[in-house]
Symmetry: D2
Subunit: 343 residues, 4 copies
């Protein structure tokens, strides 16, 4: 079977992560995170992110997003985010359902907010009829594979600080962003009040971390995590996954590799007729527009998502375990198909 | 280190379950449950429970309870449950937070509801000032280690059906109940509209199943599961755990063993001065009252929970991996301690 | 002081309504709606709307909208509405907060949805990652003063019925729509599953009705109304207001008058330089674009809202008690201002 | 028809209140509370309560309770209250539905909490599995007609302050408590962080006030009030009611009268065979136990609630408009009935 370009979560678990899970299976351990694995994993993430607060392991990306936002939102407050934000488009309305919050969306080119875009949703502040933004949610890397530069993050951070807004960073693919920017976790984390640090899309089996930068924002976190059904009893098996990812920077190596495979894919597309790359390729995804008949033809052999039926845009994702040969074979198919039909 | 008698989730993962997880790590698989492992696990559970509806894998027990109740509750409805119910005492108010529902509690001897106890909370039906019960939640095996007999379940089921109430069964330890009663999963499931079927406390790493008995109650389940942040992306690793548990009735063998260890513990307590067993031992827990000084002494060497400080009652739990020698060593310590102080 | 053109809720209470409130103050009456006034008011509204279900009096427009939507929404479902819908722009996120639902908005010219616009939000149906629309919310008359024709309503109704969607009609200004269309309450109501029927903007003091067209949708209404804090204890004083409005068609006469005053205002604007009417004037509001300096000048003497700062659009509203002389004086001011500055 | 002893909300509106409502109907006024009546009413309540924060008018008692609690509760927190608290028994689960909070109830003799009773619900603090109390809700006067003394209030206040708990006071009948204790509004208010001040049960038509003692707790109040559907557009008609109640201490005179009528009723019961008064009569209610056959007989002529069918306890309430002759006639009936059957 051909390698999937459908999603970084089509991949399995990295062997080192799996080994760590197996190795954690040694007799009894205290439940709910009062174990040595959890202490080590959260301590290490805290250190790497220079967080003054705490780190909480949760079960998936939606869990991380909803918990992170819940820690920062006043009871009555709303969230500003890009229209393309995962919390807006791909979580079935979880933020509204669980937090009771409204998402104030802005169309964002390349998936990235800017102070100017955020400012568009601030006009009704103080008016009791208008939803009151309290948090700005950004995704790094974004849902369309782009990355905020550190300078862009700083601008957002400064603007939000000056505007009485907190910043939540959805870091389901934070590793890919760090790999692209060549920066540390702390370089990214300093621009958020709370952020998530994704494991699952980067070689883990089932774990994400919520990093709370300031201690005061972490006070309610253990309780909200439990209420949000994100507290795992045999937590050591979650923590072990992060321990493996953090060991010898596997998280960064995995992300670098996936990014490199996406770059290789993009490079191979250059000059192919009828294939238009839509966004800068800055993480592990390539978005491309091609003829719907070409899409249909390619999908007979390869797995990937049609991102937008109406505009005929597809998403091709790489993963920690995508090989150069996978990319090359896929490119060969694309080239064959692209040449096979009059465009 | 001595074996923990603190909880069945202090135990690790059963080797066969771990092996299944490792074996599932074979290249790509479709995410979010569209994989062969999930189809096999849910199909098998559906078959064993004789459900006409569907089976959904979730990430933990609270997730299973909140999803299950959410499927059955009208938007305005409340839940009748025992005061000692896990959803009332141990989930940090998740049902109230996530479902917005009120729990109408009843003190229940031995942790078990009866039609008479349920009826106590029905007096305000139809009165718009009173919370309106829509679902009765029972736990099987209960939080104090007892089991409803099939006859008791039938009485509740019939009463609820006649009263316009649905039944949710919290089956975090359903396997222990089946083992105790010598009955099938279907024998238990037929008395509920929706039930959970626990994996984690019975040798799995991190998985529970929600069994929806009728198709019409399952319609909103995929969406609520996603909103409740209970949808795992790399679902195969959850499904693989259940496949292992179902294989050659490992789920039942694990539960039988844990039950047998609890029975052995209870048997060994007979005749010990100053140790009073509080409830019939019908699953994997022994609740005992003993002198607070004895409790303190025992906890220097052994791990277990004090269930109720005020009444000096402790909970001793066994697990799939508790050995006879563990029980005997623990009994020896108890005997030594019980004899060591004037009671 | 000059007459306000700011809102139809700047007006006071119609004298006949006030008289009815005073007249209802005769000794004791059963609370919470078990009184003769409530029976009469709700019975009459039920008759006029040909509802097979029930009618519930509530305390304000947001209360009516949230209750109405809550009756129709499955626990996991979302609402499709126009971007300009009051529930989206002017209720501080109440639907998200109280119902936990997501609003799937569509830009709607003239404030009106169409089957085509609704269809744009249906692409993700059945996909557990996408919010699932269950209800379409339309406003009649709309927030920009336009009215759906009965034919337009029928198209929406038929499309929704064929698509498994329910229809909620926000009728805060339903009377104005009936007056404009020359139709009955029943003509409007038959196109909705649940609708609100506004009193407050049409001469009442503080009351709205929620009309539930089918009995089965009304089952949870008394309880949700209480939970939503919309149940008034001394209900007779709410009911009396509707009795007065229904008596001799005062509701329709009030609305006709307000509509006529808006039409007079629009007619007077014709030919004025620098004043552009933005939408068909089909109820009690005129939206106009004029020079920001003209707006500022006019607001020194007159009360009205700037609808959109960025496009320099204002809203001028009439009410049941707006006189022809008020309109004429306002027009004279507008004309004077419009001529006073180079545009 | 005989005077109702069913509830203080069976009474109509006090003539002075009604007159104030009629007098407020003078042309236009800004909506949503930006009017002179609202400024005057809220300013006066603020002054009388010595609040440093703000006062918000809402539409009913449940609205006041849910808003008040919402202002004080952290997102994850629970409420400690008496089992007999109105929020627990008579609001259909509104707190759970709207705030997502759990009510941690305590059986409270005479309806009153004490530090000792509150302390019973504090054992699980800091444990993420246990609902975390953040607010203690007390009712003054209580649901069984008793009043906390100022010394009792101070003890609760001090205990809560020392325990990191905030205090919400449900003052639906605060006037009756002030009348009973002979104290000021400020004397009561200083023992709460937020309290409600009831109008409707004390001669108003439809209004309650939420008093926020500290400015920082009021920040989110305007937005939560709107989200909770408690913001009235023609607010002046709510404010006018309070203006009348505050004028020449009508609120206190009404409450004193109702209290006196309850005291007269209690006095008249003394010595009647088969009638047992259950609680100290300290406001406008008398709870009595009598033979079920006597209850049935009395209800043929008189209106009142059976408080508890199982214990045969009834509630007799007076109101601002209960006459001495009403009480005496009722007493005569009770005496006749009590003597008519062998007890």
């Amino acid at each position: 079977m051909t390698k999937s370009f459908g999603s970084d979560n089509h991949a399995g678990t990295h062997p080192a992560v799996m080994r760590a899970v197996v190795d954690a299976n040694t007799g009894d351990a205290a439940a709910y995170g009062a174990d040595a694995w959890t202490e080590r994993a959260t301590g290490e993430i805290r250190r790497l992110s220079c967080a003054q607060g705490e780190v909480f392991l949760v079960l998936n990306g939606s869990g991380a997003n909803v918990l992170g936002l819940g820690l920062l939102l006043g009871r009555h407050e709303a969230v500003i985010c890009a229209e393309s934000a995962h919390i807006n488009t791909d979580e079935c309305g979880a933020c509204e359902r669980i937090l009771g919050t409204k998402l104030l969306t802005v169309p964002a080119p390349d998936g990235k907010l800017t102070p100017e875009l955020i400012a568009r949703r601030l006009s009704g502040r103080g008016d009791e009829h208008c939803a009151q933004p309290g948090v700005v949610a950004i995704t790094q890397a974004t849902e369309v594979g782009t990355c905020y530069s550190l300078a862009e993050l700083r601008k957002i951070r400064d603007f939000c600080a000056a505007s009485g807004l907190r910043v939540f960073m959805d870091g389901a693919r934070l590793a890919n962003a760090a790999a692209h920017l060549g920066c540390t976790l702390a370089d990214l984390a300093e621009h958020a009040d709370v952020l998530s640090f994704g494991g699952t899309k980067n070689g883990a089996m089932c774990v994400e971390a919520v990093i709370v930068m300031r201690a005061r924002d972490a006070v309610s976190a253990p309780f909200l995590r439990k209420q949000h059904m994100q507290l795992s009893s045999k937590m050591r098996f979650l923590a072990a996954q992060f321990i493996a990812l953090l060991d010898d920077e596997l998280w960064l190596r995995n992300a670098r590799h996936a990014n490199a495979m996406a770059a290789r894919l993009q490079a191979g597309l250059a000059g192919l007729p009828g294939v238009e790359v839509m966004y800068p390729v800055q993480s592990d995804a390539v978005f491309a527009r091609l003829d719907p008949r070409h899409i249909a033809e390619l999908r007979r052999e390869w797995t990937f998502h049609v991102w937008d039926e109406t505009t005929s845009v597809v998403r091709w994702m790489t993963a920690f375990d995508t090989d150069e040969s996978d990319v090359d074979a896929f490119l060969a198919s694309i080239a064959a198909v692209a040449g096979s039909l009059p465009v």
